[in-house]
């Protein structure tokens, strides 16, 4: 049996059912915390089966046809078992939810750094030594690597237009027309991509660091040439993903092929410098933004044109305009995106694809318009909140941007701010404040979960992953709440494709989708328990292991009579997405200091106020917001993948040269949530949160830099040289 639901409308919210246990919505500890602080949580590269061999990927040092010139020497090196070159190896990681193999092959290097062989040896040291000794020549094609040398094909251009932007722009009271650039960026999760492949006859067991197991199982089956049913993927602990582990990755396919050939387990871990090139990057963007408004600051036109890139053969295109479609009202609109085909490492999803860079550039442009029109930046945004989706006319399922802006500005003390830039100075430091709104689309994915209830307690089972997102905590909290058990008697088993297929982790949809599946599985169990109590499920109260109704109280264990019972839940997106526009919103406020001597920017305060449905666990939710806001600091000030202009290779492929924020870069972060009661979410009423806080956070910092010292940075990141250029 199973309780199934499609989210079609508010009727599925079923009033305001929570439970009596009072654990959902509370700041519970992560149940796996003990394992993580003692080093006992097993990540992908940690099991060490007997007879395991070690593989090390070999990269193409150039573009074009690949030739190995000393293969025999390397094959004869100490400990080397094989130098695998197989047409089934993949060029780059699969895009999220692709369910099939990405582009395969090792004969042609389409980007510098592409894996073109796997050296397998008895020890890690032998494999690494031999892989570095392998001489790889590339020759041939003159491939395009720079955006300025490419033109988008017709198939790679998307455009939507309403009204007449050109006329509105020409006749407007206030206008800005500026171009912004953001560089290639990278997820850079702390755990490098890793896989351990073992074959049991014709069946593959893959331990890997992946976000969406249901899809990756099909992807690797397609890569290797076996049926998905013959693959089991295990990922109980994932050391961060941020999009880089959405699809099957190169090391996993290579490990599976090598393990089959050698008849023994093979582990392959990407070296950190490989992580920077063989997975997916966030595309660089060039964004021309035109905004025009009437005397009162009411927007009359919005133009947003974006250039992004990807390798040939990749479907993914950075959805830069995703939030521009619905963020602000204006009758005249022109939105256009072009994808250039460049031979740089593949582009794909990195935390909040689209909005992370699109909202950031747009919110800098809004600040420029506010300056041009002499309107307070908060007031400008409040004035332009749309009543309905400005393009489709659909109503919003809920819209709490105004509350985020007003509550956030009050928390931050925005009203104390001098209007003009360059007003506050402390020694060599200019001080200023800036703000930006946050927008992120909200979505739900198909998900299933199983919940087992027995005298021992509650056990949740699904192939969902916890990539740091607190899946272990919140799924346990949902089940404990609905089935009236303390968290100490609730267990959550994740990361195994033998369990019911979940949404996986990505796109901020994990908590709402898989959480709802858990809720529905509990619903089946509640109905069963109500039947045994002889009452309606709606009248049943479950608390502390007891069932209560009609003044009767029985231990749940007694009702089970020694047996365990299983509930199964399945949720699917329904018609809600066609009836309403659903999103999460927020507001960021930043205070920075800018050195007049060096152009260095220090973030002194950063605050975020967010509306994102029901907050399932305020402590872990806050941590996710800390993460996004810190990524915003990195995007604003330090992070940039630099491509060599000759061959497109990533120049700075390690943490020494790619600067993500460290402890000393991050000030105290203030996080607040406004109530967002959205009826279009099903009974759990949860929305995505993991990505919202990166959307626009960098713009708040950049706008604060302008307010502090008068320098408007339009090419991110605002490194000291770029700021100093404006100061002198």
């Amino acid at each position: 049996m199973s309780v199934e639901m499609k989210i079609d409308g508010p009727e599925q919210a079923q009033g305001d059912q929570t439970g009596a246990q009072a654990v959902l919505g509370y700041a519970a500890d992560r149940p796996e915390g003990g394992l993580k602080v003692t080093g006992a949580a097993p990540y992908a590269a940690e099991p060490c089966p007997a007879n395991m061999a070690h593989g090390f990927l070999v990269r193409a040092p150039g573009l074009g046809k690949v030739r190995l010139t000393n293969l025999e020497v390397v094959q004869g090196m100490a400990g080397v078992l094989t130098v695998l070159r197989d047409d089934r190896m993949i060029r780059n990681a699969a895009q999220g939810t692709s369910e099939g193999a990405p582009v395969q092959g090792v004969d042609q290097a389409e980007y510098v750094g592409q894996p073109i062989a796997l050296v397998v040896a008895e020890s890690f040291e032998q494999a690494r030594h031999a892989a570095l000794a392998l001489r790889v020549d590339t020759a041939g094609d003159d491939l395009v690597v720079n955006p300025q040398d490419a033109v988008a094909a017709d198939d790679d251009i998307d455009e939507t237009a309403q009204g007449d932007l050109e006329s509105a722009f020409a006749s407007s009271a206030h206008r800005i027309d500026q171009t912004y650039t953001t560089p290639s960026l990278i997820s850079a999760a702390m755990e490098p991509h890793a896989a351990l492949a073992e074959w049991d006859g014709d069946k593959l067991v893959l331990r890997a660091s992946l976000q969406m197991l249901k899809y990756s199982r099909t992807e690797i089956a397609d890569c290797v040439g076996i049926a998905p049913e013959d693959v089991r993927v295990l990922a109980p602990y994932v050391g961060g993903g941020f999009g880089s582990k959405l699809g099957i990755c190169a090391e996993a396919v290579a490990a599976a092929l090598a393990a089959r050939q050698l008849g023994r387990p093979v582990r392959v871990v990407q070296h950190r410098r490989q992580v920077f090139e063989v997975n997916t990057r966030r595309s660089e963007t060039t964004q021309r933004i035109r905004l025009c408004a009437d005397m009162n600051g009411q927007l009359t036109g919005i133009g947003h044109q974006a250039l992004v890139s990807n390798l040939p053969g990749e479907d993914f295109a950075e959805p830069v305009l995703q939030a521009t479609h619905f963020a602000y009202a204006a009758p005249n609109r022109l939105l256009r995106r072009e994808v250039l085909r460049l031979h740089r490492p593949a582009a794909g999803s990195v935390r909040a694809p689209g909005e992370a860079v699109g909202v950031t550039a747009f919110e800098i442009a809004m600040d420029e318009l506010a300056c041009a029109a002499g309107i307070d930046p908060v007031a400008l945004r409040l004035r332009n909140i749309p009543r309905n989706d400005p393009e489709s006319g659909l109503p919003f399922s809920s819209h709490r941007l105004a509350e985020c802006l007003t509550d956030g500005s009050r928390r931050f003390g925005w009203s104390k701010r001098p209007t003009a830039p360059r007003q506050q100075r402390e020694g060599e430091w200019w001080i200023g404040t800036g703000m930006a709104a946050a927008f992120r689309v909200n979505s739900m994915m198909e998900a299933e979960a199983r919940v087992v209830l027995s005298a021992q307690g509650v056990r949740v089972e699904t192939d969902m992953t916890d990539i740091g997102t607190a899946s272990y905590a919140i799924l346990g909290q949902i089940a404990a709440e609905r089935l009236g058990h303390p968290l100490s008697r609730t267990e959550v088993i994740l990361g195994d494709t033998d369990l019911p297929p979940s949404s996986g982790s990505g796109g901020s949809f994990g908590a709402a989708s898989t959480g709802t599946a858990v809720w529905l599985a509990c619903e089946e169990l509640r109905r069963m328990l109500a039947g045994r109590m002889g009452c309606d499920a709606a009248d049943l109260t479950l608390k502390d292991g007891y069932a209560l109704c009609d003044n009767r109280r029985r231990a749940i264990a007694d009702l089970l009579d020694g047996a365990s019972v299983t509930g199964h839940g399945r949720v699917q997106p329904g018609e809600a997405g066609d009836k309403v526009r659903q999103a999460t919103t927020g507001a960021h406020f930043a205070e920075v200091a800018v050195s007049d001597m060096t152009g260095e920017v220090r973030v002194r305060r950063l605050a975020g106020t967010y509306a994102a449905g029901r907050i399932l666990n305020p402590r872990t939710a806050r941590s996710q917001c800390h993460g996004g806001m810190t990524w915003g600091i990195g995007m604003a000030l330090t992070e940039a993948l630099i491509h060599d202009r000759r061959d497109g290779h990533v120049v700075n492929r390690d943490f020494e040269a790619f600067h993500l924020p460290v402890n000393a870069d991050v000030p105290d972060l203030d996080v607040a949530f406004v109530e967002d009661r959205d009826d279009w979410l099903g009974p759990l009423r949860a929305k995505g949160l993991g990505e919202l806080s990166i959307c626009g956070a960098a713009a708040a910092v950049i706008n604060a830099v302008h307010h502090a010292c008068g320098v408007r940075v339009r090419d991110l990141p605002a490194t000291p040289d770029r700021v100093l250029e404006g100061l002198v």
Partner: protein, 171 residues
């Protein structure tokens, strides 16, 4: 090559390829996989262990260099139960994915000892005064341990709480 050292108070003897790093000796040869390999370059701090009371990046050090050394890894931080610092990391959500956490914990443990011994840092104003664990000092001293989940606020709150408990405890 033969090698003997002590890990978390237990004597260990290994016969290793001289290319094996201390990190790989722990992870691959002693199955102490708590110490993490985030970069193998000394740039992320996930592999931080304590050798002779000092925190080091285990990936930047060959195992052979540690003959006779006393090494503490994350597995050695707890005794009967979790340490004050480990418990504080859980309470303050000082981790999300957990991959950098063992390095953060070893680093924090040794860092508190450095402060107690009066070691200055880059941001110490007065080199002659006793070192204070201010927010700026803490952030500076912990900046060799990267966290991409960006749990720095929770990490710092946890360390300050543990340091306070430690100071209040006469033992």
């Amino acid at each position: 090559m033969k090698l003997s050292f002590s890990v978390n108070g237990t004597p260990r003897t290994l016969d290793l390829d001289p290319r094996v790093t201390l990190l790989d000796a722990l992870r691959e040869h002693l199955q102490l996989t708590g110490s993490k390999k985030g970069c193998d370059h000394g740039q992320c701090g996930a592999c931080t262990v304590i050798v002779g009371g000092r925190r080091i990046n285990a990936c930047l050090s060959l195992a052979m260099m540690h003959e006779g050394d006393e090494i503490t890894t994350v597995e050695g931080l707890s005794g009967e139960g979790l340490s004050v610092l480990q418990q504080a990391f859980i309470e303050h959500d000082g981790f999300q994915c957990g991959y950098c956490t063992p390095g953060q914990l070893c680093s924090a443990q040794a860092m508190l000892d450095e402060v107690a011994e009066g070691w200055p840092s880059h941001v110490t104003e007065d080199l002659n005064a006793p070192a204070q664990l201010t927010q700026a000092e803490l952030a500076e001293r912990m900046s060799g341990n990267l966290c991409r989940c960006s749990c720095y606020p929770g990490i710092n709150a946890a360390i300050l709480q543990a340091a306070g408990t430690k100071a209040a405890d006469p033992a």
